[in-house]
Symmetry: C2
Subunit: 261 residues, 2 copies
């Protein structure tokens, strides 16, 4: 099932995507919902960020190739994490499928994509074992963890490198049916040309491990999102580019790029 | 004016604290509100976290003495920040005035308080100058940035050291009338005995500087909170302790400490 959050005629609602149609519901997939009887053409609705999380978790270095590439660019030795330490992000960076990534006027040219699978929590959970961890999820969506690499290097935190307004496209929907994470591929395209492809689940620490580890100390709540990091590297994005982050079986998140003047 | 968020008879509402009374409002101080005509004894209501922020900003090392003390404990040279880089926190750590700080069973003895002034954003703001920055605030509250120091040292991020459930007491209310930040003193007491006192505004980078810097890249929205860091050091907290963080002119945030078994 695909849950889409959308706006139409001045209201925002959740709906179930069925082919080219959106079946509107009252309520939300995180608590109670009922079909309203209203059905819209998907092409007619404005797609919104699928959920505004109470807490926005993001994993940093979680793919060996990415760790090595980042280290090489910074001229340091690769330093693979020895345990799953998660980070946090600003909700204000979130934008929907289709909305523009706006590069600030004072950013350098080194603004890059990071295509990531996003786990969406569906149930309140604490003290999850690894075996039961995926059971707390509603489903999965896609994130593009846009990053300004010079700020990432110069600042003590990732506050603006990864949290500048519009730097966190997420969507287009939440897919609840993902039977085999190992079967997923992440493909990123810039202006239609494939620039990277990797096995989505080839992580240092998997989704279940992070959920179990976090929930040992922190209560996960419905709507929380966990971005899982990315593999490989990215070309610099420039004004006029269009970035697709596709994850097979989930969907494709597309955002144009604008440079502010 | 003091805004208190409270629960009573199964509902949660905002109210204006007037002496020993809470004047209940409909709506909230971040948008529209009206007095409902209902008045409660403050002693009769359950105080809640004054606001659940859309984004929870927290400043790290921001007082020279604290930077030096932390460095000395870690056996490294003090490294004073050269620019205001903010961080983010998990909303699930937030607890109200009076609620217990629960130290996990597997935490070490090095669980400590950090008494902090918290700026509460009242208006949507982007691109603020330093001169106008404080104008976006609704007011101020108090935070206790509880920290497990061994995890702070061992983990790559502060994810559990400072974000474990209950590690972010905030409150008891939002004070809107703070005419002179330089006049404020922060006093922390453990079991009634004063353990530290410092000038609240003796920061490396002040509140206006942080608000201006953040808003250059990120839109501040009503309800966001910015915790400003702390000075000095703390004894280890243990089961049965009670911690007061008082900031003169704002209030006193009190929380008991429990060690989970």
């Amino acid at each position: 099932m695909r849950w889409v959050r959308f706006s139409l005629s001045g209201r925002t609602a959740f709906g179930i995507l069925e082919g080219e149609r959106v079946v509107e519901v009252a309520g939300d997939p995180f608590s109670d919902w009922d079909k309203t009887g209203q059905v819209h053409r998907f092409a007619d609705v404005k797609v919104e960020v699928p959920v505004i999380p109470k807490t926005f978790y993001a994993v940093g270095l979680n793919y060996p190739q990415h760790v090595r590439e980042v280290a090489a660019k910074r001229g340091v030795e690769p330093d693979l994490p020895s345990q799953p330490d998660v980070g946090y992000r600003a909700n204000t960076g979130l934008i929907a499928h289709g909305a523009p990534i706006v590069i600030p006027a004072d950013a350098t040219e080194a603004v890059q994509y990071e295509g990531e699978i996003v786990a969406v929590i569906g149930k309140t959970a604490k003290g999850l074992s690894e075996d039961e961890a995926l059971g707390c999820l509603l489903g999965y969506t896609i994130g593009n963890d846009v990053s300004e690499r010079t700020w990432q290097k110069s600042d003590r935190t990732l506050w603006r490198a990864k949290n500048t307004d519009t730097f966190a496209p997420m969507g287009p929907w939440i897919e609840t049916d993902v039977p085999d994470l190992d079967a997923l591929e992440t493909i990123v395209r810039v202006n239609g040309a494939e620039s990277i492809r990797f096995l989505t689940n080839a992580m240092l620490f998997g989704i279940a491990t992070f959920l179990s580890t976090i929930s040992r100390y922190i209560t996960l709540v419905p709507g929380d999102v966990l971005w899982m990091g990315t593999d490989g590297s990215s070309p610099n994005l420039k004004h006029g580019d269009v970035v697709d982050v596709e994850i097979t079986g989930i969907g494709c998140l597309t955002n144009p790029v604008i440079k502010a003047t």
